[in-house]
Symmetry: C2
Subunit: 228 residues, 2 copies
């Protein structure tokens, strides 16, 4: 951090620890999964938690979240969005700490999990059956899941889960995994094609049922667009 004089700051200002916490979603085996790390330290030693850690003096909040995620997964270029701040007075048993929570979406073909000093294991868990979590991470996970499900209806956010090329069955499975319900195949295909964001590659590969199916790629940049 650039050296900055504290002389004009009030002497008694109350300061707290600020951590970033990231809810990392992926799709595996047609299920929405979340990345969890097992804590190797107190508090909550041995319990699973969302990846995260305290912000450093020289880094912005987004940078802190990306650093934490890079340490855990090695991936870059993924979609990251802030969920908000979680600051209940007693959420950390050590001292007052505010968590700024994010969620990230990672295609299932880009996963490398790395243990670290603060976590002795990292693993993907189905969002429907998470273990007991440390701190207020269950509330953060629930908020992230609600945000993702809501955003599915008015944006192209689901495309962030897709690998480079994919079949329409794979796209449908992603929507179904996030929504937790089965969708009508014909209606889904009509709606997804109407977005005008998919481009056929001209090559087929076997879909989930072993039949040859056309593969597609995303047209243009893979940004999250709002659907009006």
């Amino acid at each position: 951090m650039a050296t900055r004089s504290n002389t004009t700051a009030p002497k008694k200002r109350y300061r707290v620890g600020v951590a970033t916490v990231v809810v990392v979603f992926t799709i595996q085996e047609e299920a929405l999964k979340v990345l969890l790390a097992r804590r190797a330290r107190e508090p909550f030693r041995g319990r699973w938690a969302l990846p995260g850690g305290f912000v450093r003096p020289d880094e912005d909040l987004d940078a802190s979240a990306r650093r934490k995620l890079g340490e855990k997964t090695g991936v870059t270029g993924y979609y990251l969005e802030q969920l908000g701040a979680f600051g209940q007075v007693d959420r950390d048993p050590r001292e007052r700490a505010v968590a700024v929570a994010y969620y990230a979406l990672i295609p299932s073909d880009r996963l490398v999990l790395r243990p670290s000093k603060s976590a002795d294991a990292a693993a993907w868990f189905p969002v429907d059956e998470p273990p007991e979590l440390a701190f207020d991470h269950e509330a953060i996970l629930e908020t992230a899941r609600e945000r993702l499900a809501a955003k599915l209806d008015y944006s192209t956010i689901a495309f962030q889960f897709l690998p480079e090329t994919f079949t329409l069955v794979e796209v449908q499975r992603i929507y179904e995994a996030v929504k937790g319900e089965q969708l009508d195949k014909r209606n889904f295909r009509r709606a997804i094609q109407a977005l005008g964001k998919l481009k056929a590659t001209g090559k087929k590969r076997r879909d989930g049922f072993g039949r040859p199916a056309m593969t597609y790629r995303i047209k243009g940049p893979k940004d999250v667009e709002i659907i009006k």
Copy 2:
């Protein structure tokens, strides 16, 4: 496994100031307005800013935002929603400080502005023509405005601006003020009535054009509902 040379938890944890900042919107004279307070202290003394202040040890973030707003306006029971955390390293010239921003909606019939120790004036400004603001408050205001405009399309959030009873013209003026565009009267009335949230009072009063118009009230609790 990746070794992490520089992520060992420091013995003395890095702590920062955490403030809550509230973007308070109302509708006055058919325009969307925001509450600003003029700073009586450094930094940015004399400049206008969003109401806010540092979180106290014993209060949650939401409580801190409501306290700040109560001090400025005296109102209670209004809609308050967190926008997110703003934590650029250099956003406060004194020292590192993270702002957790909220936005609130207040009907125009419930306004009492109070000056305070830290502000020598408080006033409503048209959102389209704000003065130069302190800190990163212009970015926070812009984020709040975008969130509000987006939410108008898929929720009943605009009803939070309404007084106890109102005419349909007044409802339309609120939507137009937030969206910054004129709406077709017949289409608007059809869409707003289709929500099934308005109940005619049976009493008329003069609308904006001096003609007698039916007044309405919100049916049931005045919550913000998502429109599917």
